[in-house]
Symmetry: C2
């Protein structure tokens, strides 16, 4: 089975990488880009029957720094 | 309006970061993790009416290195 985890910086945490993308898009002539946030997506190929709770534990223990990052799990 | 872009390494391109995550999950006692791929997710806050084609141009020109990366655009 597959699971996908999105890890994004929490609101209020500065995102210099996203800001750099926003600036570069403007320099390339793309107007109307009001904000950019960059995060990570992690695709996991797991043994069948792995529970969503297990994937959430992976996030808490390794995949996300929950002080500054939030995560969302999609299973299946 | 919001758009979300996923950028993943193409199949066949080595992903050492994903491999490091897979190894670390095993060391933490999570069994059955057969594969991990890590990519980027970019959330764009755009002017209303921006077309999907415009976002795809942003991917082609800046957000993805299309030699080694594939991208997927979700609009709205």
């Amino acid at each position: 089975m597959k699971a996908r985890v999105h890890v994004m910086l929490k609101d209020g945490v500065l995102d210099p990488q996203g800001e750099a993308i926003r600036h570069a898009l403007g320099a390339l002539g793309f107007d109307g880009v009001d904000g950019v946030r960059q995060g990570k997506v992690i695709e996991l190929d797991l043994a069948d029957g792995t529970s969503r709770e297990t994937v959430e534990q992976m996030c808490e223990k390794l995949l996300a720094n929950t002080v500054i990052e939030s995560y969302a799990v999609e299973v299946g």
